[in-house]
C-alpha cells in the first residue's frame, strides 16, 4: 500500500480505512445521481440520527455535518467559511454551519462531488440547538419543509417515560410524513430487517472499541476511531456496514499478532474528549504521537450513539428502539453523565490522563469542559489537559501554542509516572 508523503509513520496496510473511503465514495456518487435515479433525499444530523427509518422508505440520506467534516479534512473549509461570513454569518458562529452555507452559495459543488438538494429536512434535534438554526436557514434557502424531531435532553439516570413517549409520538408523525413524500406505505418488517443489520454492526463496533483496553492498544480509539465510526454513523442497517466492521476486526487481529499499534511504542494512554480539528487533523495527531500517546477511549465517536454503554437497536420494537437510540447520543447527555462516562473510560481503558480538545464551533460539546477539568483534577486526581481550537475553522489552530501546552503536559505526566514508580 502506497502512503502519500507526510502520512503517519505507521505503515500498516489500512484495510478498514480504505474500505471506509470506498464506501464514502460510493455514497457520494449515489447522492450526486439522486435526481437521475429519482431517489428522494433527506438531510439529517449525525447525533442520534434515525437513518434506518429513511432507509426503509428508500431515501438517500445526506449529512451536512459529514460534508463539513470532509471539507475540513480536504482543506476546503476555509474559503467556504469566508463565503458564509460574506453573506452575514458572524465569525462567532459554528464553522460547520458556515461551511455548509458556503456550499449552498456555490450551488452544492463540493470536493466530494455535486450534492443534491433536499426533499426533506429532518432536524433530529438531540444534542445541539445550532442544528435547529442550521436547518431553519436551509429551509428558507431551499424552500423545503423542515420536520422537527424534538428529543428531550437526558438529565437523570433513567429517561422518564414521558420523554420516551413524546419521542415515539413524533416518530409516528415522521412515518406519516415519509409515506406522503414517497407515496409508499410504511413497511414495519423492512424496518425490522434493517435494524437487525444495525444491531449486528453495533456489536462489532463495540468489539473494535473494546480492543483499546489491551496494553499496548492495537488501535487509537480517537485518531483512528473517528474514521472507523463512519460505518456506525452513516452506514447502519446495511450488510456492507457489518462486513466493514468484520474487516476492521480482522485488521486489528492481525495487528495484535504482529505487535503493531498506532505508535511505535505506547508511553501514555489517554481518554480524549471533544471533536478533532479536521483541517489540521494530522498535525494535531503528530503533537501526541511524538510523545507515544495513544487514545484508548474517546467521547466524540459516541455522538452517533452510545453503543458501548449497552445501547442496541431492537428489531422487535422498531419505532420505540429508534426513539431510545435518538435520546442516547453523547451530546444529548447531561454534563454529569458525560463526566461519569469519561471517568469510567479512564478506569476501564487504563488511561493515564484525559485530554480535552475544546472547540469554539460546538458549544454543545465544549461549554462545561472547564468544569470537567476542575472535577477530574480536584476530585478524581486524573491529570487533565484542556486545549482549544476548532473542528472546522482553520484560523483557530495555533500549532506552536498547542505544541507548548501538550509538551508541557506530557513532560509533567512523565515526571509524575517516574516519581510514582520510584516512590512506591
Amino acid at each position: 500500500m502506497i502512503q502519500p508523503p507526510g502520512e503517519s509513520p505507521f505503515k500498516y496496510q489500512d484495510a478498514g480505512k480504505n474500505l471506509q473511503r470506498k464506501m464514502m465514495g460510493q455514497e457520494y456518487d449515489a447522492l450526486a445521481h439522486a435526481k437521475e435515479t429519482k431517489t428522494p433525499v433527506a438531510y439529517l444530523f449525525i447525533s442520534g440520527n434515525i437513518q434506518e427509518l429513511f432507509r426503509a422508505f428508500g431515501f438517500l440520506v445526506l449529512y451536512p455535518e459529514i460534508n463539513a467534516l470532509q471539507c475540513g479534512i480536504k482543506k476546503a473549509a476555509g474559503p467556504l467559511i469566508l463565503k458564509a461570513e460574506d453573506k452575514g454569518y458572524s465569525s462567532d458562529v459554528c464553522g460547520y454551519v458556515k461551511n455548509d452555507i458556503g456550499l449552498v452559495i456555490q450551488n452544492n459543488k463540493s470536493p466530494m462531488g455535486n450534492l443534491p438538494r433536499p426533499d426533506l429536512l429532518v432536524c433530529n434535534f438531540s444534542g445541539c440547538n445550532t442544528y435547529i438554526k442550521w436547518f431553519e436557514a436551509l429551509s428558507e434557502f431551499y424552500d423545503v419543509p423542515l420536520v422537527m424531531l424534538d428529543v428531550p435532553y437526558v438529565r437523570d439516570a433513567a429517561v422518564p417515560k414521558e420523554d420516551l413517549d413524546y419521542t415515539v409520538s413524533q416518530l409516528h408523525d415522521l412515518v406519516a410524513t415519509c409515506e406522503k413524500i414517497t407515496g409508499k406505505a410504511f413497511d414495519k418488517a423492512e424496518l425490522s430487517r434493517i435494524l437487525e443489520l444495525s444491531r449486528k454492526a453495533e456489536d462489532r463496533w463495540c468489539e473494535v472499541l473494546e480492543e483499546a483496553a489491551n496494553v499496548p492498544s492495537p488501535i487509537d480509539a480517537y485518531f483512528e476511531a473517528v474514521f472507523f465510526m463512519a460505518g456506525i454513523n452513516i452506514f447502519r442497517g446495511t450488510k456492507e456496514c457489518v462486513d466493514y466492521y468484520d474487516a476492521v476486526l480482522r485488521e486489528i487481529a492481525e495487528r495484535k499478532e504482529r505487535g503493531i499499534g498506532p505508535v511505535e511504542k505506547e508511553r501514555f494512554r489517554v481518554v480524549m474528549e471533544g471533536p478533532p480539528p479536521w483541517p489540521h487533523f494530522r498535525a494535531f495527531w503528530e503533537l501526541f504521537k511524538r510523545w507515544g500517546v495513544v487514545a484508548t477511549a474517546a467521547t466524540y465517536p459516541k455522538v452517533g450513539g452510545l453503543f458501548d454503554t449497552g445501547l442496541r437497536h431492537d428489531p422487535s420494537r422498531p419505532i420505540e428502539s429508534l426513539a431510545e437510540y435518538s435520546l442516547q447520543c453523547y451530546t444529548n447527555w447531561s454534563l454529569d453523565k458525560r463526566a461519569k462516562l469519561i471517568e469510567d473510560y479512564v478506569k476501564h481503558f487504563k488511561a493515564d490522563a484525559v485530554v480535552i480538545h475544546s472547540v469554539k464551533s460546538c458549544r454543545s460539546f465544549s461549554v462545561g469542559q472547564g468544569d470537567f477539568r476542575d472535577k477530574f483534577v480536584r476530585e478524581k486526581n486524573i491529570p487533565t489537559l484542556l486545549v482549544e481550537s476548532d473542528l472546522a475553522d482553520p484560523r483557530y489552530f495555533q500549532e506552536a501554542q498547542l505544541r507548548n501546552r501538550i509538551d508541557a503536559f506530557f513532560e509533567a505526566l512523565e515526571h509524575r509516572k517516574l516519581t510514582a514508580k520510584g516512590g512506591a
Binding site: D92, N129, I132, E136, E140, Y153, Y166, D371
Partner: protein, 385 residues
C-alpha cells in the same frame, strides 16, 4: 443628559447584582427564593409552591469575571459567564434553587455546571422546552415536565401547590403581563411618553420583586405615563431585535434613543411577558394550561423554533404592525441563536426595503460613542433616504 424618571427611580434596584429587594423579602417572610435563568421563567410554578421567583439576568456592568474564566471559555456570551461568576463568588447564596431552560447550548450546559457546583446546597433544574407549536404531544410532554419540576419545588418549599393556588398564581402573572403589554401599547402609540430604557427597567423590576408589588409599581407607572404630555420628536421608529436573553447595558438603549430613534417595539426582558395572550385555565388542569400556553401562544424568538412559519416573516409582520421605519439588531456578542437569525432577517429586510442596523453588545462594554455614531448615521440615512 438627565435620566428619565423611571430609570432614575428603579434602574439601580432592577439591576443590582446584590439583590437587596430579594434578600429583604426573604428576611421579612422567612420564605425561599428560586432563581431562573432567561429566557422562559416557570414563575407561576415557583410562586404557587410558596416561593419567590427571581430573574437572574447576569452581572451587568458591575461584576468582574475572575473565577468563571477557568470554567467557561472566552467564546461564550457575557451573561453565562457573569452568572456563573455570581454563583462561584457566593453572591447568589440567598437562592434556594435555580432553573434553566433549553434555550441554547450554552444555557443548557451552564445548567450542568450549575448542578455540579451548587446542586448539593440548592435545587438545580433544567426544563426541556418543546420546539413544537400547536402540537398536542408537545403539550402533553411539557405538562409532565412542569409537573416534575413542580413536585421538586413543593419538596423544596414544603408547601403543596394546590390547583387553586396554581390558578391564583396564573391569574396574578396574567395581570402582570397585561400591565407590561399596556406599557408596550403606550410606546407603539405615544413613544414620546415612555422610553424603551424606562419600560425595560419597569419590566426588569419583575425579576427581583414579588409580582403583587410589581403590579402596584406598574399601575403607578401607567397612571403617571397617562399624565405625561411630551411633544413628539422627529425620530425614526425602530424595532429592537435580539435582546431576548442577555440585556444590553441601559446606556446603550439610551444612546440609541438619544441618537434619534423611537424604539416602538423590542424583545428586552422577553421572559417577563412571554405569553402573547392570557393563560386560560377555565377550570381545567392549571399545569396543563401553562404548558398549552407555552406551546401555542409563546413569544416567537430566536430560541424557539416556530414550525413552518418563518422567523423572517414574523419580523416583517412586526415591522408593519409597529409602523416601524427600520430594525436595529441588538444582540449579545457570541449569542448564536440571534447571530444565525440575523442573516435570515437581514435578507428579508433587504428584499422588503426595510433599513436595518446591527449593534453588538457585551455586559461590560463601557464606551457608547461608536454606537452613537452608528445610530446617528443610520437615522440620517433613514430620514434622508
Amino acid at each position: 443628559m438627565s435620566k428619565a424618571p423611571f430609570v432614575e427611580r428603579f434602574a439601580d434596584l432592577a439591576t443590582d447584582p446584590t439583590f437587596p429587594s430579594v434578600r429583604e423579602w426573604k428576611a421579612k417572610t422567612g420564605r425561599k427564593a428560586v432563581g431562573y435563568f432567561p429566557v422562559f421563567p416557570p414563575a407561576e410554578l415557583i410562586h404557587a409552591a410558596g416561593m419567590l421567583p427571581v430573574g437572574i439576568m447576569g452581572g451587568g456592568t458591575r461584576v468582574e469575571i475572575d473565577h468563571a474564566d477557568s470554567r467557561m471559555q472566552s467564546f461564550v456570551c457575557s451573561i453565562s459567564r457573569s452568572t456563573l461568576e455570581l454563583g462561584l463568588t457566593n453572591r447568589l447564596d440567598f437562592l434556594d434553587g435555580m432553573t434553566f431552560t433549553t434555550i441554547c447550548d450554552v444555557a443548557r450546559n451552564l445548567s450542568g455546571v450549575w448542578k455540579r457546583n451548587f446542586g448539593q446546597v440548592a435545587l438545580s433544574e433544567l426544563l426541556h422546552m418543546p420546539q413544537h407549536s400547536n402540537h398536542a404531544a408537545a403539550v402533553e410532554y411539557l405538562t409532565a415536565e412542569f409537573a416534575r419540576l413542580l413536585k421538586r419545588l413543593e419538596t423544596l418549599s414544603g408547601e403543596t401547590a394546590t390547583p387553586e393556588k396554581l390558578r391564583d398564581s396564573i391569574d396574578l402573572y396574567n395581570r402582570g403581563r397585561a400591565r407590561l403589554r399596556a406599557l408596550y401599547q403606550v410606546r407603539a402609540l405615544h413613544p414620546e411618553r415612555l422610553s424603551a430604557a424606562e419600560s425595560s427597567v419597569l419590566a426588569r423590576l419583575g425579576c427581583v420583586m414579588p409580582k403583587e408589588e410589581h403590579i402596584k409599581v406598574l399601575d403607578g407607572a401607567l397612571e403617571e405615563i397617562q399624565a405625561r404630555r411630551a411633544r413628539p420628536r422627529d425620530a425614526v421608529r425602530v424595532i429592537l431585535e435580539g435582546s431576548f436573553c442577555e440585556q444590553p447595558p441601559l446606556e446603550l438603549i439610551e444612546t440609541i434613543e438619544e441618537s434619534g430613534c423611537y424604539i416602538v417595539d423590542d424583545d428586552l426582558c422577553l421572559g417577563q411577558r412571554w405569553f402573547n395572550e392570557e393563560v386560560e385555565v377555565n377550570g381545567g388542569d392549571p399545569v396543563r394550561a401553562l404548558a398549552a400556553a407555552y406551546v401555542n401562544h409563546s413569544s416567537m424568538t430566536s430560541v424557539r423554533h416556530q414550525g413552518q412559519s418563518r422567523r423572517s416573516e414574523t419580523l416583517v409582520g412586526r415591522v408593519r404592525r409597529a409602523k416601524a421605519n427600520g430594525v436595529i439588531f441588538c444582540s449579545a456578542k457570541f449569542c448564536e441563536p440571534a447571530l444565525y437569525d440575523f442573516v435570515l432577517f437581514k435578507e428579508v429586510l433587504e428584499r422588503e426595503k426595510v433599513p436595518y442596523l446591527s449593534v453588538e453588545f457585551e455586559e461590560k462594554m463601557g464606551a457608547f460613542e461608536s454606537a452613537r455614531t452608528q445610530v446617528e448615521t443610520f437615522v440620517e440615512s433613514v430620514l434622508f433616504a
